[in-house]
């Protein structure tokens, strides 16, 4: 490409490493702070490497707050949300993509138009509904709204439309029902997009803050982000504690990311391609 490939190459590695440095320094700081004793946080000049290394913050985290419980709650809510979104959206997407019926386009447009309304508009009435049903501080309450996810329906429908009709037509001739076609042909052929949707939905639910903050106010029901923000208001200056909590909350997603990097990157760039 260039007449000076060596200069170009060097420039690439220098720039890429500088950016990586700024990406990672905060995490290094997070790990380092979480391993400090409280007094060592307030030492000048700033200590980059904790001395002595102390696991005190991690121990206190679990004694001050039902943190193990919060981890469980987060896992439960994230898995539940993901299952509901993927099942409900793929069923609707199949119908919109492959079965023609009267009013289909109108209904689909209605689905899409709800995406214009920001979640903050519907969150107050949704809270009131849960409250009147006695579903505040219940996981059912947190999970229920994910049964309708217009973006997921849209994403899956766009993908399912590209599956040739010849497959399902052959199956119909063989006497297969729509349910069989959905489960045996459409769903398997949509695997890549379903995988991408699964990881981004899981990540979104794992990291979600506003909705669980409103619904789950009981200390034993809180998810990790909500619990962390409560710790922040109660122990706002104990940064070793907060950093330890933050790190623990990140670990599961990071592990998942390293296991399923392709799906993550596909899932998160999908909006860009399809949008």
């Amino acid at each position: 490409m260039s007449r000076r490939p060596f200069v170009r190459k060097t420039l690439f590695y220098v720039l890429a490493s500088v950016i990586a440095f700024f990406n990672l320094v905060p995490f290094f700081w997070m790990v380092s702070s979480s391993l400090k004793e409280r007094g060592a946080l307030l030492v000048l000049p700033v200590e980059w490497i904790p001395n002595p290394v102390s696991l005190d913050a991690y121990r206190r985290l679990f004694s001050l707050f039902p943190f193990g419980r919060a981890i469980f709650n987060s896992i439960f809510v994230a898995c539940g949300t993901t299952a509901i979104v993927v099942i409900s959206a793929s069923m609707a997407a199949y119908v919109f993509a492959k079965i023609s019926f009267r009013g289909r386009e109108v209904l689909f447009t209605l689905f899409l138009s709800t995406m214009m309304i920001p979640g903050q508009v519907t969150m107050i009435p949704n809270f009131l509904v849960l409250r009147s049903l006695g579903l505040l501080n219940s996981f059912l309450g947190v999970l229920a709204p994910s049964i309708f996810n217009a973006f997921a329906v849209f994403l899956l429908r766009q993908n399912m439309r590209t599956i040739p009709d010849a497959f399902s037509e052959a199956a119909i001739i063989d006497g297969a029902s729509y349910a069989t076609i959905f489960l045996k042909i459409i769903a398997p052929l949509s695997k890549p997009v379903l995988a991408a949707l699964t990881v981004i939905t899981f990540m979104g639910a794992w990291n979600d803050y506003l909705w669980p903050l409103i619904v789950l106010t009981d200390r034993t029901k809180m998810t990790l982000p909500v619990g962390l923000s409560l710790l922040n208001t109660q122990y706002g200056n104990q940064y070793n504690l907060l950093m330890a909590g933050g790190l623990i909350s990140m670990l599961p997603i990071l592990v998942l990311y390293f296991l399923a990097q392709k799906q993550f990157q596909h899932g998160l760039s999908i909006g860009g391609i399809k949008g």
Binding site: F111, M123, I124, Y209
Partner: protein, 289 residues
Amino acid sequence: MSKRLTVFLFLLPSLCGLVIFSIIPIGTSLYLSLTEWDVIGGPPRFHGLKNFWDIFANEEFLRVLSNTLYFIVLYIPLILAAALGVAILLNNKYPGVGLYRTIYYVPVLTSWVAAALLWKWLLNPKYGAVNALLGMVGITGPSWLHSKSWAMPGIVLASVWKDVGYFALIILAGLQGIDTTYYEAAEIDGANWFQKLVKITVPLVTPSLFFVAIISVINSFQLFPQVMVMTEGGPGGATQVFVERIYNYAFRYYKMGYAASYSWILFVFIFAATLIQLKLQKRWVHYES
């Protein structure tokens, strides 16, 4: 199973959700925005557009709007430039580029609450890493979140750090879609890398940049966890923004009607900002025919 029954059953979960968690709430919210209601003391009292007049008459609204616009003015150019730069860098084929891409993506994966806690500590004026690093190069850092003028730039800094990997990946997908014959033709004509960047890469990646601009402006209007965790709207209201106000009015002060009105004002701003960008796109977005 008949076709009609299939359609009905397959759509049933989504339809129930659409009605219960979208259509009815939108109607309810519109009605609530015309009422005064504190949840505990009896049913909502209708009082027309009073909430809206009250909001517009309160100087707080102007502050919320200008804080949001201030965030947008700082954040959007920074995130577009940074994401484009990172994407161009990642569009190289050198060994190790995959590792860099993985690293740049890590902040995207963290929850905003954890990231905001981290940045609150990083930006600590006396004991934080940012001012310690600035001190190493001889700069006395500002007091960031404790200062009225530096709190919002602090939140912008955290947001750029968190979001750049996400938007870079979207732009990268656009870059990878550019036909390489353009570059080959330009090289035959003797174009240097800068000419290729300005004349080929940037114009052809404008659809992705446009998408990123739309999404990031919408996200900017919905700024929330970073503000809640890092500043709670402070100091002195310098970081009060729409969603933070809506949350506080609804769930701390129990002014449901007022909060609902605020949420509709937010909707109008998001909608208008998106429309304006759709109109302006003809001037700068280049679609290949």
